[in-house]
């Protein structure tokens, strides 16, 4: 079994994210890191590899992104991926969901994995859709927000929470699975793994290398357009108490609740 894990470089959680008004795109100039949701996908791949129910030949981390996205791949490798692939091309800048899904699918096609794993959402785009887009291009079954996954022969038995409770779904491989953060507790990389990450094989691909049609990606290949970016509707900021003396804090909370007639 060959597993590809899709990963993404996102602005660090501590960085205040903003949209560049001139381009309508996220300003990615600050500190960046591997999308925290993706670490669960890598861990899920490692658990399949170590679980003994499937013979995992290889775990490959795949990303699409500019030069500095290589850091996400190094992190992914330090967490257990055997090698990585970076799709990087100026022509890809500004790609929307439709274009990004198409481009990633082309890269994955070349790898022909038996299983594609990804995090259920990216920390920056708050978008839960890429897995399902990629799956349709690859003509594979897919499931998102999976929180339990077991290999059974050539299938995966997956559990997830859907609209009416928990669903158990059997998915035949090859498949694309987005995992939720409840699926596992990602391990920390060892110092040795961190040091060794840069030495592992990393293949850089441009769009021509994987047969991506230039007019289907980037701003021109995107099917949505940003018409305007506005501030959110103004909301009066709430009162904030820093808890220094807890007795005092509790008094303040009780008074606040009482004022609003919330106490019987």
């Amino acid at each position: 079994v060959k597993i590809c894990v899709l990963v993404k470089q996102v602005p660090d959680a501590a960085v205040e994210k903003r949209v560049d008004p001139s381009t309508g795109r996220l300003d990615r100039s600050g500190e960046t890191n591997l999308n925290p949701f993706d670490t669960h996908a890598i861990e899920a791949a490692m658990q399949i590899k170590e679980g003994g129910k499937a013979d995992v030949e290889e775990i490959v981390a795949v990303t699409m992104g500019p030069e500095n996205a290589v850091r996400a791949l190094h992190k992914a490798v330090s967490l257990g991926a055997d090698r990585s692939v970076q799709l990087s091309d100026d022509a890809l800048a500004g790609s929307d969901v439709c274009a990004t899904g198409y481009a990633l699918a082309r890269v994955l096609e070349q790898e022909s994995p038996d299983l594609v794993l990804l995090g259920q959402q990216s920390d920056d785009g708050e978008c839960y859709t890429i897995g399902a887009v990629v799956a349709d291009h690859l003509k594979m079954p897919s499931l998102t927000q999976v929180i339990q996954m077991d290999v059974e022969g050539g299938s995966l038995r997956c559990e997830r929470q859907a609209e009416y409770g928990y669903d158990t779904v059997e998915v035949e491989l090859p498949a694309v699975i987005s995992v939720g953060d409840a699926i596992n507790e990602p391990r920390y990389p060892s110092l040795k793994a961190i040091m060794g990450a840069k030495k592992k094989q990393l293949d850089k691909k441009a769009i021509g290398d994987v047969g991506i049609e230039a007019d289907r990606v980037g701003v021109d290949g995107s099917r949505t357009s940003v018409e305007a970016i506005n501030p959110p509707p103004a909301k009066q900021a709430g009162e904030v108490i820093e808890d220094e003396d807890t007795n005092e804090t509790v008094e303040k909370i009780v008074a606040w609740l009482d004022e609003r007639k919330l106490l019987a």
């Binding site: 349709d136 409840a182 108490i241």
Partner: protein
């Protein structure tokens, strides 16, 4: 042809509330840009009445397809064929898990633009513009579509169900669609399993909600004691329900309940969008969290930065003492 196609999710003999919202929104928008609002129902032997009932929400026609229920890819096959055959300008989905998956599948299949987490749709010059908050709701983007069809996926509770076309009955048309090979490779083994005890949080005026910041399942005892002292009930975030700390029936947000109590006291909840959409109609929101940068403080009326393990027991004590005295 123009028009808007929506997906109506159902379970048992009932249509999902967010789907009814999507049908109503599609009908409203179709009146503005011209064309009709149609809906798709996919399932096993779906009753005529269920399909016809969408007429009250403004759907003039409902397509019914026979296929496995509760999975996205068969619906992608059905909707892609209908959009190909009839040339709808837009496909619209209410908030929820399946809508995201179906919308995403259609994006790939049709090479269509998609906007998700949409809170509002505007009609401008005969076209639709989807309004989407981004970056933890710190900015709002107006997203247009370069080509048709455009895919619009709503945020939970974004579209209100409007049954004002009362008494109208939708025309039902059965469609046969050959499923893609890969759509038949996922099989529902068990659907809608309820985990944990049945609790009622929707009727409570006062809710104490717990999140991952409680640290462990036992942390919920602090919430239960506080809820007792307040005379309210306990709710939970998805993260802790998935972790098995609290029953699913107490879950707020995306794939859980939507509540609007007089008081929502959030303990150890960071305030992810998926949680926010289930509780933002609450009258008063109090948040206790040790992280001063937690997004929940952006939409709470009273924020307390501190350790809930210290604050909750003392607050419970104070409320009890107050009652006693």
């Amino acid at each position: 042809m123009s028009g808007i196609l929506t997906y109506a999710l159902h379970y048992g003999n009932e249509v999902n509330k967010n789907s009814l919202g999507a049908v109503s929104e599609a009908a409203r928008l179709a009146r503005e840009i011209g064309g009709e609002a149609h809906a798709v129902v996919v399932g096993e032997s779906v009753a005529d009445e269920l399909c016809q009932s969408l007429g009250a929400y403004g759907a003039s026609k409902v397509f019914r397809a026979e296929a496995l229920e509760g999975l996205a890819q068969p619906v992608v096959d059905v909707m892609a064929k209908l959009i190909d055959d009839h040339g709808y300008s837009y496909a619209l989905f209410g908030g929820g898990l399946l809508g995201f998956e179906i919308g995403a599948g259609l994006t790939a299949r049709l090479g269509a633009g998609v906007t998700m987490e949409v809170t509002e749709v505007k009609a401008q010059d005969g076209k639709l513009v989807a309004v989407r908050p981004i970056l933890q709701d710190s900015a709002v983007v107006d997203s247009g579509y370069v080509v048709e069809p455009g895919i619009i996926i709503g945020r939970l509770n974004a579209f209100e169900a409007d049954a004002s076309s009362n008494g109208a009955s939708a025309e039902v048309e059965d469609v046969q669609v050959e499923l893609s090979e890969w759509s038949t490779k996922a099989r529902m083994v068990n659907r809608g399993e309820q985990r944990g005890a049945e609790v009622n949080i929707e009727d409570a005026d006062l809710l104490v909600a717990g999140g991952r910041g409680l640290g462990k399942a036992e942390g919920f005892e602090l919430c239960e004691q506080l809820a007792d002292a307040l005379g309210g009930a306990v709710a939970a975030t998805r993260a802790v329900v998935d972790a098995g700390w609290y029953p699913y029936s107490a879950q707020i947000g995306q794939t859980g309940k939507t509540v609007a109590p007089k008081l929502y006291l959030a303990a150890g909840i960071s305030g992810a969008i998926q949680h926010k959409v289930g509780m933002q109609a609450s009258e008063n929101v109090v948040a206790i969290n040790k992280d001063p940068n937690a997004p929940i403080f952006e939409f709470s009326d009273l924020g307390v930065v501190g350790d809930l393990n210290k604050i909750l027991p003392k607050l419970t004590e104070a409320l009890k003492a107050r009652k006693g005295g």
